[in-house]
């Protein structure tokens, strides 16, 4: 037995050590957080630093004469004739007007390549929409080629050995001339947010992949949330306690840890080869991702149900509610925020997934923007991968821009879920 004095001495002796331990532990925590935040900041600064310039696109102002003899030689204003005309020639003529000295075939090719090949299609769409333009002279801001874009944005240097550059001294001279005449301007890159994929960086857009991801996640959400909630409620509230239920539980927990590529193979075998759904379609992607997210939703749902205090159940049973009424009127509303959190985690993982999509043909070049879950489509992470693998320099910034869009998509999705959770949240 220690006396009061002895205790005091012993406590005083160990006090400094215990304070030091606590200080070290706190320090350790702070260091961990600082390292984590540091990595996050590094990630964001590199991605945003590389990608923000893709939101602007260099354009060249040219006065294009829409010659009737080129666009509509028989004067019929038939949309099909208008669509088939040679608009690239109109643009070339407009360029030659600015630089008449580019006479030879080689020079003309070099001059023509300053403007994107896609500009002709955009001009075509303008004329088809508004045939009144035919026969008039109009100035258009046309998309510049990606090489010009890179030069204007300072991603490539104009100096150094000419043979090692993609733009010749001549072309650089022309570009500087256009710049001096105020004909070059960086404008907001609407194309990037409205178009599907393209092999020309200046024509490439993220909208196709965004919609593909959206359709896929819609299918996933509509299937995995109701199924997951129903399974969780049954297992937690109704299932008898026997060996079969144990087996099912163990399997669900294991499924949550299965690598996603396995679900891709399963999807290929079942949905494409057996059921006969089309390859590359978001509906198949959504079904595969449902298989992947379902265990996560079930596990989170069960945890949320478990956390509802027994007093709530007992009180409801006590005033005469049936088991069904207890669950649907009291337990489920209280568990809903936790279930939504589980769904968010599952969906966020599904959004970033590309491995299972490889097997079902969604790693593909798709120009047309999908309009339904059965149209061919890619997803955002796949688009990032495809662009990162393209040889053109201008795809480097577009890859980062696509990552920014992916992160924004994730943020919007999570914000919606948090808002929903707060709406359902009930305190007791």
């Amino acid at each position: 037995m220690l006396t009061g004095e002895q205790t005091r001495v012993r406590v005083a002796a160990s006090l400094a050590r215990r304070y030091r331990q606590e200080f070290l532990f706190r320090l350790f925590g702070i260091v961990s957080i600082v390292i984590g935040v540091g990595f996050l900041l590094f990630l964001f600064t590199t991605i945003i630093g590389n990608g923000y310039s893709a939101f602007w696109q260099t354009t060249i102002k040219l006065d294009v004469m829409i010659e009737e003899s080129v666009v509509d030689p028989d004067g019929s204003r038939d949309p099909e004739t208008l669509a088939a005309a040679n608009y690239a020639r109109l643009i070339q003529d407009a360029l030659l007007e600015v630089y008449p000295e580019a006479a030879g075939r080689r020079d003309r090719r070099a001059l023509k390549s300053l403007v994107s090949t896609g500009a002709a299609y955009i001009l075509r769409d303008r004329v088809v929409d508004d045939p009144a333009l035919i026969g008039t002279r109009h100035s258009f801001w046309l998309l510049a080629d990606d090489e010009v874009d890179m030069l204007i944005k300072g991603h490539v240097e104009a100096g150094g050995d000419e043979a090692l550059r993609r733009l010749s001294d001549r072309q650089v001279g022309w570009i500087e001339g256009l710049q001096a005449a105020g004909r070059i301007k960086k404008r907001f890159n609407t194309q990037f947010f409205t178009a599907g994929d393209s092999r020309e960086p200046e024509m490439a857009g993220i909208w196709g992949a965004t919609k593909g991801s959206f359709f896929m996640l819609l299918v996933t959400l509509l299937l995995s949330f109701p199924l997951g909630v129903a399974a969780a409620v049954y297992l937690e509230e109704f299932a008898p306690n026997n060996r079969w239920v144990d087996v099912i539980e163990v399997n669900i927990n294991n499924l949550a840890a299965v690598p996603s590529i396995v679900f891709g193979l399963l999807g290929l075998a079942v949905f494409i080869n057996f059921v006969g759904l089309p390859r590359s379609a978001p509906i198949v992607g959504g079904l595969v991702l449902t298989l992947m997210t379902l265990p996560v939703v079930i596990i989170a749902g069960r945890a949320a149900l478990k956390s509802v205090p027994p007093s709530v159940r007992e009180a409801a049973l006590g005033v005469g509610a049936s088991q069904m009424q207890v669950i649907f009127h009291h337990v489920l509303p209280l568990a809903m925020p936790g279930m939504l959190t589980g769904a968010i985690i599952g969906m966020a993982r599904a959004l970033g997934e590309s491995a299972p999509l490889l097997m079902i043909g969604m790693i593909a070049f798709i120009v047309e923007v999908p309009n339904s879950p059965t149209d061919p489509a890619t997803a955002l992470p796949v688009q990032v991968y495809l662009w990162a693998d393209s040889p053109e320099r201008a795809f480097v910034e577009r890859t980062s821009a696509a990552i920014i869009v992916l992160l924004a998509f994730l943020l919007v999705m999570n914000a919606t879920a948090v808002w929903l959770r707060n709406r359902f949240e009930r305190r007791w």
């Binding site: 090719r109 299609y121 993609r166 299918v219 299937l223 649907f328 790693i363 070049f365 059965t374």
Partner: protein, 355 residues
Amino acid sequence: MSINMKAAACVAAVVIGGAAGLPAQAQSARDYISIVGSSTVYPFATVVAENFGRSTRFKTPKIESTGSGGGLKLFCSGVGVGNPDITNSSRRIKQSEVDLCAANGVADIVEVKIGYDGIVLANSVSSAVYRLTRAQIFLALAREVPDPDGSERLVPNPYQKWSDIDPTLPADVIEVLGPPPTSGTRDAFVELAMEGGCKTFGWIGAIKGQDKNRFKSICHTIREDGRFIEAGENDNLIVQKLRANPQALGIFGFSFLDQNEDTVQGSFVDGQAPTFDAIAAGAYPVSRPLYFYVKKAHVEAIPGVREYLAEFTSDKAMGEDGYLADKGLIPLPNDERLAVIRAVTGLEPMTLTRN
């Protein structure tokens, strides 16, 4: 809450029901061309597809990047709208694949040779250009090489510096970044550069006649002691790493050299620089033909296949000054191209004994 749940359940039921109803619809028609295959041909095929989609009334073809082998496997899995119409390949179709096709009812295949691709060994422009022979490439990268004392036996690769192989080469540590074995570029590099160099040792060449597998394992096995670094399928990454490490060499396709000539330079192989003209003339030794294969049975069934073929083989695409050349494809010589056009317009089925 329960009403919300019911609504969600209804929506889910509609989605599942819709999915179940789809197969009939999906099988009955497909109004776009479905293409699979090589990731090397992908950057070229996609340009053609895009131009085709924008300039005709047909939809833009869908192109999956599955690799040559994976593409041919999908291609040969049968006839019908559920199967792809065209597969791209960075090598010629093999007899085993033709047999697989035939077994699944894919009888007539039209072969289209689209041009050549060069494989380059490049380093950063801040270093000196390498002038290598294929024999030196083999000695630098093989796992086992002939004994440096000249006797006819194999020893584990002893070379650590380029100057160990030949005193005229730089005294830099051998460090080569290249694609992994799953890549078609790696296959072609091993076959053209490594085997080409390997055969220059007469006694190894003699093994080929006796024991083909042994010959292959000598010539095709790349060293694993860290001098050769597998850098993943992403050629852009290799280019970036070369920029950061002037000592290293990288292996990738010509189109990446073409797009990054301001930062990397191609090494001479057997006295030839990897230039557009040298590859087109067949003088640069490490180059390979690229192909795509078309299912004849699908030409009439799927709208636009004939027109896509016409676009691909047209002068403005595949010609000497065509847009594919701008993307780094080395065009076919004129007479060969005319032969391809003839075969395509007549839809002549291929036979492997030709060529």
